[in-house]
Structure formats: structure tokens, C-alpha cells
Amino acid sequence: MALSESSRTRLISWLKIVLPLAAMAILSTLFLISRSIDPLAEIPYSTVDLRDSARSERVTKPSFAGATEEGDMIAFTAESALPRDGNRLDANELAAEIDFASGGSVAVRAEAGQIDQPADTATLRGGVEITSSTGYRVETEALAIGMRQTRAETEGEIRAEGPPGTFTAGRMRLSTDPETGKVYMVFTAGVKLIYDPGSTPGPTEE
């Protein structure tokens, strides 16, 4: 059914008004009623108070590596470190790794530690665990490690397990034999060890 001429023109003129309005309405939804985006909230920034960490010069994940006079490689890492005064640093989750030129290595972990630069000593405290490539695991409360020479000494007694068995000793120190350059882990002040031939794993001889 063909529309009459006049109604067609009326329709067209009517459409000429309605269509632009509809377009305007759709366009406005883009701005007027869209989600309000807060530009500031989108940028992720850490909640650490910047002034505080700037003032305290807290260092995160510090590490220090070097060679000792004996030529052994020594490396320290920590979760974070905070300078205490001019030349002392408090660190938490301090770890040290020493690779001996004469072979073997020792790794140490502790909850906290203090690095004393002038004395070239790092003192690890709190759940100190020392593991050596020779299969020894030693636990103690505090251990002082030299940063320039290969030396380390516990402040108190130790509990340990290793190839010869489980044992305790009054003290443990790491020292280098000057002639041979070999490094020894020496347990002193009374060693008490228990070795159980039956229970240790390993091939059972016929």
C-alpha cells in the first residue's frame, strides 16, 4: 500500500526531527550517565608512607658480596636493612654464603643480624642455621661472621647433625689452616655425639 504523497512528506519531516534527537540521546549516555571513573583511584601506589621510608633510608633486599683475604667468596643478603648509626646496620632475615677457594661451601640463615662495617663483622642472631656442603646442619643462637677474613664463631653452644651423627658442642668456629689453606669447622668446649649404626640410611652391607 503506497503511502499518499502528503503523509510521506509528513513522515519524512517528522523523522528529520526524531532521528537526530535519538542520536543525541544515545551519544549523551556515553558521557552523562556512564560509570564515574575516578582517575586518581586507578593509579596504583604503595601505601608506605613515603616521608617515613625516605627519612629512614630503609634499604630493601640489600646484598653485599666480596672475596676474603684467603680468596674465599663471601656474600650477604637480607630482607631489609636499616642503618643504626654511622657504620652499623640492622638487618632482618640475614643470610650469608661462603664458597671456599679450597673447596666446599657454607650457608647461614638467621632471623636478624647486625653488620658492623669498621669491625668487618656481621653478627647473626635468632634461630641461626648453618648448613655446610659436607652435609652438616648446625643450629645456634648467635654467630659472628668475618666479612674480610674467613672466620666465624658462635657465641654459645650448638646442636648439630651430620654424617657422623647428631651432636652438641659448647661452641663452633670456622677457621682456616694457614699452611694448607684448608677451611675447618671446629666444634669445641665439649662435644657429645650419638651415632646409630642401625638407623642411618644407606646401602646395607650383606
Binding site: G135, G165, K192, Y195
Partner: protein, 140 residues
């Protein structure tokens, strides 16, 4: 010639071994462990004291193969005692060999020899090399 004598009481060679000493030093490159300073090795009712005891591991480094005691050793088991310069205790087989001026004291008699092979489990000992027995008359 060879003389077999009972020695001390039987001991269990697979019982736990207790070692006490002044120091223990472990060399970091090959893991050799040496006890020094009046070392006392105790297993069941056998006691071996020495100036120095070195731990010798088996090939796989997972178990102790033997203990080498030196610097003058004294072995006491039950009421028998023996002295020598060295002692090698093969932990796995329970054979303990004393060597170097061995002196075995059993009650009134003292027996000297070059070497003494002790079977810890059986509680017997074999003396080898120039075995000489001294009987003390006045029971001192």
C-alpha cells in the same frame, strides 16, 4: 703364634655409639671428621678412650665405616682392659683391632702382643705377634 682369649663381656656392635671429646674438627673440602682431646667412644658396655679418633666413611659417604683411634688407646669391656697405640674399629662388622705394644690385663695375668683382634659381639679376642704372658705372683 695366635692365642684366643675371652675378652670382657659381649657387646652389641649395632648399638648406638656415643662419642665424647673436647673438639671435633671437620675439614670442609673432603668432610673428614676428627675427634681430639681425651676422646671416649662408648658402645653398649664397651668403652674405648683415645687421644684422637678419626671417622672413616663408606664409599657413599652415607654411613660410618670405621673409627680410627690413635695416640694411645685404652679399651675396657666388662672387667677386662687392654692398652695399645692404635685401634681401628670396623663399625659394620664389629671387629676391633688394637695394634702397637698391646697389653691385655685379665685378672692377675698381663699378656703382651703386637696385635689384638677383638670380636665385640662374641666377646673374644685373638692375640697375634710375639705373645708373652706375665703372671704376677704377689697379685699386685
Amino acid at each position: 703364634q695366635e692365642t684366643t682369649v675371652p675378652f670382657g663381656t659381649q657387646a652389641d656392635s649395632s648399638a648406638p655409639i656415643e662419642v665424647q671429646s673436647e673438639t671435633l674438627s671437620v675439614s670442609q673440602d673432603d668432610g673428614a671428621a676428627i675427634f681430639e682431646g681425651n676422646v671416649l667412644v662408648e658402645q653398649d658396655n664397651m668403652r674405648l678412650s683415645a687421644a684422637r679418633v678419626e671417622v672413616i666413611y663408606n664409599e657413599t659417604q652415607s654411613q660410618i665405616a670405621s673409627l680410627a683411634a690413635s695416640g694411645g688407646v685404652t679399651l675396657v669391656s666388662g672387667d677386662d682392659a687392654a692398652e695399645a697405640e692404635r685401634a681401628d674399629y670396623d663399625v659394620t662388622s664389629g671387629a676391633l683391632v688394637l695394634s702397637g705394644d698391646v697389653l691385655l690385663v685379665r685378672g692377675p695375668s698381663t699378656i703382651a702382643s703386637e696385635r689384638m683382634r677383638v670380636d665385640v659381639d662374641a666377646g673374644t679376642a685373638q692375640l697375634e705377634g710375639r705373645v708373652r704372658t706375665f703372671l704376677s705372683q704377689d697379685g699386685d
